[in-house]
């Protein structure tokens, strides 16, 4: 068995470890520059390491702590190089003979040539052999020393496709006879999947994941692995654990997309990720079920066939999914199945995503940054909020906009429910023209109502009133959220995003969402800034303070249009209704 821990700073950065059992074929897979060939060279002793351990069976080839480092010639290794590396001045027989150890009998060369079908070619020089024949000579040469470890460096990349197929078959046959660890380097995923027992995914000199190919393809450890193994459909979402009281069979769900424009998928909770984690997710083709009708199954989504590409036995199908946001899905089906299913372009059908097959991965980033962000995110902070419901929608017929009902529930109560998930003090609602009606409609406990006596002075005066009231309640808030009462999309997940961004932002006292270059809302403000604004007297507004101290404002560029949409006119209402399918009912 091979045990390798490879560490090096120069000339290449390596920090990887892997194991390979006897008779097992391990494929090192990664993009160019991932260190896969360097790893192989250091196993063979052709490259020196600064630290680590290489052990094959009971033999230690390299051990930095005991200063052991066998030279290449003393490592019992057989290596097949990318371009064969046959000695051009030696014929087949001589190439193999050269690798024999002193005590080995020359008859071994004959037997190797017989096994590899090279007897007729023994007097030929490398340039007189075809690509496949050269490869066989290289393999025979690699076996001549009875190696304890076989290394294949992109061994099949230099031959044409039919020859490669034959060589694959030969390698598979050969493996039945030998009982040593085989490590193969390849950038060809199909090759790796076909030949190896386990794959080791490398990137920038590091091991990202080590598992069997089916496991890696269905459960990549992170988004980078998914990308490296060529998964095309990598989706974004947010992972939520279900409440313990929930009746969900799957105990967790995945919010695919943003806020109202999102799709809730049932998934299994493997207990590895914390609640509310930004994730990438993939689903392996075998967990996607196609059907002509929706039987009310879990995770069933309408889909339209936009492309069918026949690639021989396999057809590649592209679907456009019926989601509030544009998303595609690619499936590879047998061409036979496509015919049986009578699948045609522009067909409408349903895809069912089996929760067991939905694999979620935390978004990959630098581990140290990830850790700092995690610590920042996990920090408990005191959150206060003001909800501005003072104005009236003059273009909608002078109505209190926060009292419009969306699918039967007022926007005010929707906002309050979302906000109350986060706040540690009562939410301050600033009312103006419609104090009575608003007071009467509140269904959420723990709120504090204040009234702007002169709402005609504008929104900034209402903000000021709200902030003063909040400041009187408590002086040790870490952050204040200022929610406008007419933004119908703003929900719990948007607020969660904002709070998270506020926690991880490197500096500043204000977090301002920016969508397509436009200032968005809600704005978040630190407790310190709140105190300064209050202290500077009642002429100071939040907007004025932000303009005076632009360096204290952190702009968060987001593509989430929830932050910029408000209902100001009948057109806005129609737009919202058509996009969400929700019904808006105006007060009175």
């Amino acid at each position: 068995m091979l045990k390798a821990v490879l560490r090096s700073q120069d000339p290449v950065f390596l920090d990887m470890s892997f194991e390979c059992q006897r008779g097992e074929l391990l494929a090192l897979v990664g993009p160019s520059g991932s260190g896969k060939t360097s790893a192989l060279r250091s196993l063979a002793g052709l490259m020196s390491l600064q630290d680590g351990l290489i052990q094959v069976g009971s033999q230690v080839w390299f051990d930095a702590t005991h200063q052991v480092s066998l030279p290449a010639a003393q490592r019992s290794v057989g290596m097949v190089f990318q371009n064969y590396a046959l000695f051009p001045h030696l014929n087949t027989y001589e190439n193999i003979f050269l690798a024999l150890a002193k005590h080995q009998s020359p008859e071994l060369v004959e037997s190797l040539m017989r096994d590899m079908g090279l007897l007729d070619l023994q007097r030929r020089f490398p340039h007189e052999l075809s690509g496949g024949q050269r490869q066989r000579v290289a393999l025979a040469r690699a076996f001549a020393r009875n190696p304890n470890l076989l290394l294949l460096d992109e061994a099949f990349s230099a031959v044409d496709h039919p020859t490669r197929k034959i060589l694959y078959e030969e390698l598979i046959k050969l493996r039945q006879r030998i009982d040593i660890p085989i490590v193969m380097v390849t950038h060809d995923l199909k090759e790796a999947r076909l030949l190896c027992d386990r794959m080791c995914i490398l990137d920038h000199g590091k091991t990202l994941q080590q598992a069997s190919p089916p496991h890696i393809f269905s459960s990549p450890r992170n988004a980078r692995v998914a990308e490296l193994v060529g998964l095309t459909d990598i989706y974004s979402g947010t992972f939520f654990k279900s409440d313990s009281t929930s009746s969900d069979a799957y105990k967790a769900h995945l919010q695919w997309g943003q806020g109202v424009n999102s799709m809730k998928l049932q998934i299994e909770d493997k207990g590895r990720l914390p609640d509310n984690t930004e994730v990438k997710w993939v689903i392996s083709g075998e967990f996607v079920e196609l059907s002509r009708d929706d039987h009310g199954r879990t995770n069933c989504i309408g889909a339209k066939v936009v492309q069918i590409m026949q690639l021989g036995d396999i057809s590649s199908i592209t679907f456009s999914l019926d989601l509030p946001f544009p998303e595609m899905m690619h499936l590879e089906l047998s061409t036979r199945m496509v015919k049986d299913f009578q699948l045609l372009k522009n067909d409408h059908l349903f895809v069912g995503l089996d929760p067991a097959g939905i694999h979620i991965m935390p978004v990959y980033s630098d581990p140290s940054i990830k850790m700092i962000q995690k610590l920042k995110r996990e920090k408990k902070i005191q959150i206060g909020a003001i909800l501005l419901a003072a104005g009236q929608g003059s273009r909608l017929g002078s109505i209190p906009k926060s009292l419009m009902k969306i699918d039967g529930k007022t926007l005010l109560n929707r906002h309050l429910e979302a906000i109350s998930r986060f706040v540690t003090t009562p939410v301050v609602i600033v009312t103006g023209y419609y104090e009575q009606q608003i007071r009467a409609s509140i269904h959420v406990p723990n709120v504090h109502l204040v009234t702007n006596s002169d709402p005609a002075r504008g929104q900034s005066s209402s903000v000021r009133v709200g902030l003063e009231s909040l400041y009187q309640q408590t002086k040790d808030l870490d952050v204040v959220i200022m929610v406008l009462g007419d933004q119908p999309y703003i929900d719990e997940s948007d607020l969660r995003q904002l709070i998270e961004q506020f926690k991880v932002m490197p500096s500043g006292d204000f977090l301002l969402p920016m969508v397509n270059g436009q200032r968005g809302n809600p704005v978040l403000m630190s407790g310190k800034a709140l105190q300064e604004i209050i202290d500077q007297g009642n002429q100071m507004t939040v907007r004025g303070f932000m303009d005076l101290h632009p360096h204290r404002v952190t702009q968060w560029v987001s593509s989430n249009h929830h932050f910029t949409f408000d209902i100001d006119s009948v057109e806005d209402m129609m737009d919202f209704q058509s996009k969400t399918g929700m019904h808006i009912e105006l007060p009175y």
Partner: protein, 225 residues
């Protein structure tokens, strides 16, 4: 026709070439295992004779090898042979002057051996020494042959250094190019012409032969097992 001078020239050229080839291989090999700084410094030093006027080299050799010098004196005490105005002297001068002609083609040939062949040799269990003998030398033979011929023909026609260090002593230091110069000085143009033609022919034939060997196809390269 001064046959003695021709014989002396051929002897000098052969001795120089045969001695410089192993030295060239050794230098190439040794430099491969030196630090970058040492490697580059020696490369400059060994290439210097290529651009230095023969008289400059000749002057330093006269001063450095003459009986008045420490080395020349010591060598004379030991062997009763003088290092200047003697065959040994012009041979030593030729060795120094021809280093780049022998060494550079060998260096280029060694450099053109692909790294993966050297790696393959190591993974086949060959030691450094075995790799040199069984892989690198056979693969670099064209460079070695080129070095040999270049050194031979260059020494054959050498004039400046030989004249400075050896003078013009018949059967000792009077090479064919010096003999030609000598005949010209005494206006014996026929003699000079015949010898010039002879030198031209020998050089032409040598280079022709080299071309023939160098352009033979790969698969009949010398085999090493």
């Amino acid at each position: 026709m001064d046959w003695q001078a021709l014989r002396l020239s051929v002897e000098l050229a052969l001795l120089t070439a045969l001695f410089l080839i192993p030295l060239g291989i050794f230098i190439t090999y040794w430099l491969q295992h030196q630090s970058r700084l040492v490697n580059q410094s020696f490369q400059v030093l060994f290439t210097l004779p290529l651009v230095l006027p023969p008289t400059v080299l000749g002057y330093y050799l006269l001063v450095g090898l003459g009986r008045g010098s420490w080395l020349g004196n010591y060598f004379y005490q030991l062997t009763h042979i003088s290092l200047v105005f003697s065959f040994t002297g012009i041979w030593l001068a030729s060795l120094l002057f021809n280093i780049p002609f022998a060494w550079l083609p060998i260096l280029r040939a060694f450099e053109s051996i692909p790294q993966d062949l050297k790696d393959a040799s190591k993974t086949c269990g060959l030691s450094t020494w075995q790799t040199l003998l069984k892989i690198e030398l056979p693969l670099a033979w064209k460079g070695i042959l080129t070095g040999l011929i270049m050194t031979f023909t260059h020494t054959l026609g050498e004039f400046g250094v030989v004249l400075m260090v050896g003078g013009n002593i018949p059967n000792e230091t009077r090479t064919i190019s010096i003999a030609i110069y000598d005949q010209m000085q005494t206006l014996q143009m026929d003699q000079a012409g015949a010898m010039a033609l002879m030198l031209l022919l020998v050089s032409f034939l040598t280079i022709l032969l080299t071309q023939f060997f160098l352009h033979r196809p790969n698969h009949i390269q010398r085999q090493v097992t």
